[in-house]
């Protein structure tokens, strides 16, 4: 029934819309036909042609009215009105290209910035993790050891699968130079836990995932493409990783992703690192727990609590201090960055708000110049609803055009943002202009158009009608509700801009404070690189020590080069801590001993790095393998453990060592900013590679100081290293200055964005106040002319205009300060060494803003002065 209805009516609707001229022609023809026939009939009754025609028309009772009623019958009226409004708007906009371009550009800036930030927020915060039913995935608050995870797996009933991964460097000696790759060493449960299966081949099974099982490896898509040219026949081949042979059994899908840094291959932890996997104390597995269907998180948490208590009771040495908690995986990944992204989002929303205020203000100014036109249309019978709709249509058209340009700007913006390498934003690399970004931008543009079109629309419709027809525009002091509204807009604009300026300044100041932080070492002319000796060939410490010694000798023999080794380089992100005990003090229960950072060095590390020696002596040639095991501690260690006692000569040891290995403290060095410029240093113990009892510590950073360019230093390092062993890959090659700069990447990213937003906000606000003042001066030309004619001096006029501008600026500034005072505390976690209500910033920036605003008023004021009073009086 309905479908039949549409068979008849749809072609009619389409014709009314798209072949409107044809429909109109038909209507005219039909009525003309009627008129002619009727006229003929009247002629037959003896009327004159003229009378006959008039009678026929009279019978129709108003030709145009009837036509209009026929058009109404078409039921496409709203759409037709819209099309008419759009046509009218396009024509009007084309006629004022300056206004159109300014409005579109203003909105494009605001919307573009929002689209860019939203696409990042979308990628990092909103998009669900790339795992099936990812809301069912949880993680534990701390890392687990392999035996612990086994026990949890045995005792749980809430989880269908519990995966664990540790990322480790592996040497891949395929073709050419040896390279270091990242291995995801995991258990077989990882695949069902994540819900991801290989795209080619298969994953390893529970039976294969055992000590002494087969050496199997899965390749990630990227590694497979880079090193095997995406060869589908790769399954079954074998590759050598860190000296051992592995059989390839599968390739992961292209979009496979693990939180944190990307991995190249996946292998069983029990095969690839059996030594570490055996120990309950090696808590190094990141965990992925998939909830059993139907199991609740509360239930699972309660279960995990009892398992944790069981582990703590059975293995107090290793598990007493774990206090495992379940956290949603998503929360664990994005929880830290949510707040700072929201700060950025708030900042960019303020930019949009300012852009919108400018937009509304522009439209108000325009509607003021169109008052006559609107008045005429009202007088001709345009209903005010229709007028409002027309103004809003124009506004939405502009905002959608602005949004389209904004998308282009946004896409560019995202490219630039990604170039800034925002460290620590998980999954930022998946940022793209996807459907939700498009939808967001569209909705944003649409509502911007409607909301900020309403202001001019209402002021346009409520403009008196007859008033403006006879108005001679001799308005005196820029009166009119439209103008009052514009001043209000400028005030809010200044207030908003001030919030951003203050926030950006706080960021800038804390960034410069961070830059000035003394790292505790001299970073210039230092080249660093990481080296890890493969277990297969360097299991014994004698071989490792021989390598260290050879390497240092070779490097130091090169002219103008000094080299040393350190296990954990400051600001590299690497750190290692151990429980420890102090000789002569009561030994705490196992598992509750204090923790200390442990770092192992070789060569003249402290003097080479420029770390100051505060007490005692540096390591020297007398400290060799077999001689007294000595250690140097940092200032933080002394402050925490030996605040009043003599530290030199005291002895410390790692807790629960296999047999005591006391280290005698012979020196104290200054603290370095190991964890970054904005993080405090922790207590640390340094010992020597030649004396340490830890054969598994096969990694090291080579630190080279030399005057030559980093490139030639690197060439020397490679040449010397490979003359000893040409199978060792060097990684993380960087100058120390770059390491230092990279530690501030995060802050730099936030600062750059906030700074850019503040700059845009300032520019828009200045344009806004300039526009309003310029308009006001034009409005007051006449008044100013009278004042000058009556003898006012230029400075009186100047003061008149400037004081008007200053009032707006001051009002905006006061509001802005109040708002900033309330808001900046939300960014305290982004600041360093400065209060979010820093009085100097809160004073200087408003003053500067007022000054800028006054300058923006000064230009139009000067123009007012230049006017000849006679012309001014005659002005319109």
């Amino acid at each position: 029934m309905r479908s039949e209805h549409w068979i008849y009516t749809l072609p009619l609707r389409l014709r009314s819309l798209f072949r409107r001229n044809r429909a109109e022609q038909d209507l005219a023809d039909e009525l003309r036909d009627h008129l002619e026939s009727q006229t003929q009939q009247y002629l037959a009754t003896g009327l004159s042609p003229e009378e006959a025609r008039r009678a026929a028309i009279r019978d129709l009772d108003g030709l145009e009215l009837r036509k209009e009623q026929c058009r109404d019958a078409r039921r496409t009226r709203p759409l037709e009105d819209l099309i008419q409004d759009l046509r009218y708007s396009l024509r009007a906009l084309r006629k004022s290209p300056g206004f159109t371009a300014t409005a579109i550009l203003t909105l494009a800036l605001g919307i573009g910035a929002n689209a860019a930030i939203f696409s990042i927020v979308n990628a990092v915060l909103l998009r669900s993790l790339p795992y099936p039913s990812s809301s069912q995935l949880l993680t534990l608050s701390n890392n687990q050891s392999v035996p612990d995870l086994e026990d949890i797996q045995k005792q749980t009933r809430s989880f269908s699968a519990i995966g664990g991964v540790n990322k480790q460097a592996l040497d891949f000696t395929g073709e050419g130079e040896p390279i270091q790759i990242t291995g995801g060493l995991c258990n077989a449960d990882l695949f069902p836990a994540l819900g991801i299966q290989p795209a080619i081949g298969r994953a390893f099974t529970l039976q294969e995932d055992r000590f002494g099982g087969p050496a199997l490896v899965l390749l990630t898509h990227g590694f497979w493409t880079r090193h095997f040219a995406a060869d589908p026949a790769v399954v079954g081949k074998s590759i050598r990783l860190s000296g051992n042979s592995y059989t390839i059994i599968g390739v992961m899908p292209r979009d496979f992703w693990l939180p944190g840094r990307p991995v190249d291959v996946l292998a069983s932890i029990r095969i690839a690192n059996p030594a570490a996997a055996q120990f309950r104390g090696v808590h190094f597995l990141a965990t992925y727990l998939r909830l059993q269907p139907g199991a609740s998180i509360q239930q699972a948490s309660a279960e995990m609590k009892s398992i944790d208590e069981w582990l703590a009771a059975h293995y107090p040495d290793n598990d007493r201090q774990m206090h495992r908690r379940l956290v949603s995986l998503r929360e664990a990944i994005v929880g830290d960055v949510r707040l700072e992204l929201l700060v950025l989002f708030a900042a960019v929303a303020i930019v949009l708000l300012i852009a919108c205020v400018n937009f509304a203000s522009l439209q108000l100014a325009r509607s003021a110049t169109r008052r006559r036109e609107i008045a005429i249309r009202v007088a001709l019978g345009a209903p005010s609803g229709r007028l409002i709709r027309q103004v809003i249509t124009e506004s939405v058209l502009l905002s959608l055009l602005g949004g389209a340009c904004g998308l282009i700007l946004g896409a560019l913006g995202v490219r630039i943002l990604l170039l800034l390498k925002p460290a620590g934003l998980p999954r930022i690399e998946t940022t793209s202009m996807d459907a939700s970004v498009l939808l967001f931008t569209f909705v944003l543009s649409f509502f911007t158009g409607i909301l900020f079109g309403l202001i001019p629309a209402f002021s346009a419709a409520f403009f008196g009608t007859n008033l403006h027809l006879k108005e001679d525009q001799r308005a005196t002091s820029g009166a009119g509700s439209g103008f009052r509204l514009r001043r209000l807009l400028v005030v809010s604009e200044i207030a908003l801009a001030l919030i951003l300026l203050i926030s950006a300044t706080l960021m800038l100041r804390s960034f410069s404070l961070l830059h000035r932080v003394d790292p505790g070492f001299r970073p210039v002319n230092l080249l660093t690189m990481r080296l890890e000796l493969p277990e297969a060939r360097y299991r014994e410490q004698t071989r490792q020590r021989y390598m260290h010694q050879q390497l240092l000798e070779h490097l130091n023999s090169a002219p103008g080069v000094q080299a040393a080794l350190i296990s954990e380089l400051p600001m590299s992100g690497d750190f290692l801590d151990h429980n420890f005990i102090i000789d002569g003090r009561p030994i705490p229960p196992p598992g509750t001993e204090p923790e200390v950072q442990t770092r192992t060095v070789a060569g003249n590390y402290f003097s080479l790095m420029g770390i100051s020696l505060l007490a005692g002596r540096d390591f020297g040639p007398q400290d060799r393998t077999g001689s007294l095991h000595v250690a140097i501690v940092n200032r933080a260690f002394v402050a925490q453990y030996f605040p009043a006692q003599e530290v030199l000569g005291a002895r410390v040891d790692w807790a629960r060592n296999n047999g005591p290995d006391w280290m005698t403290i012979v020196g104290v060095v200054g603290d370095v900013k190991h964890f970054g410029p904005n993080e405090p240093e922790l207590p640390a113990v340094y010992d020597l590679y030649s004396q340490t009892g830890q054969p598994w510590k096969r990694w090291m950073y080579i630190v080279i100081r030399g005057e030559s360019a980093p490139g030639s230093l690197l060439a020397i390092a490679k040449q010397q290293l490979w003359s000893i062993d040409n199978q060792l890959p060097l990684t993380q090659i960087s100058t120390m200055s770059d390491v230092l700069a990279a530690s501030l990447d995060h802050q730099r990213f936030n600062l750059t964005l906030l700074g850019a937003f503040a700059a845009v906000a300032l520019a828009l606000a200045v344009i806004g106040i300039y526009g309003v003042m310029a308009y006001s001066v034009i409005q007051r030309t006449n008044e100013i002319g009278i004042r000058v004619a009556l003898g006012a001096q230029p400075r009186n006029i100047l003061r008149l205009i400037l004081s008007q501008g200053l009032r707006l600026a001051l009002l905006g500034t006061i509001l802005g300060i109040a708002a900033s005072f309330a808001l900046t505390r939300y960014m305290s976690h982004l600041l360093f060494g400065i209060s979010p209500r820093d009085p100097r910033t809160f004073f200087a920036i408003p003053v500067a803003l007022c000054f800028v605003a006054l300058t923006a008023c000064y230009l139009p004021a000067r123009r007012a002065l230049r006017n000849d009073p006679l012309t001014a009086l005659r002005y319109e």
Partner: protein, 111 residues
């Protein structure tokens, strides 16, 4: 001149559907037919005829095509659709019910 409001609401639609049910006609012919069949009792202004026709067309009850008229001019001829036939039946039935009810009331004896 008689106004369309003199017609009971919706009656014009019924009349037009009925007239077109007999044969396809153009607007002018319809107007003449209206005058013929209803005599002087129901006066329909030519003016309200066309909006009403367009409304019926947009409802899908009648359809229009351009054809040569008797005096060999291009004219828009309206004819009933299947939907229109159904609508006519419905409206005629309504009308019968209404008029019967009203005549019953009018026939009541006054006391």
């Amino acid at each position: 001149m008689s106004k369309p409001s003199d017609l009971v609401q919706g009656t014009l639609d019924l009349l037009l559907l009925k007239i077109l049910a007999l044969e396809p006609l153009n607007g002018f012919a319809i107007s003449i037919r209206l005058k013929q069949v209803s005599g002087e009792i129901l006066q329909v202004s030519d003016g309200s005829l066309y909006p009403a026709l367009h409304k019926l067309e947009q409802e899908g009850w009648i359809k229009a095509e351009w054809r040569a008229s008797e005096n060999n001019r291009r004219a828009k001829f309206y004819s009933l659709t299947r939907l229109g036939r159904r609508q006519l039946d419905r409206e005629a039935a309504n009308w019968n019910r209404l008029s019967t009810a009203i005549s019953q009331i009018i026939k009541l004896e006054e006391v």
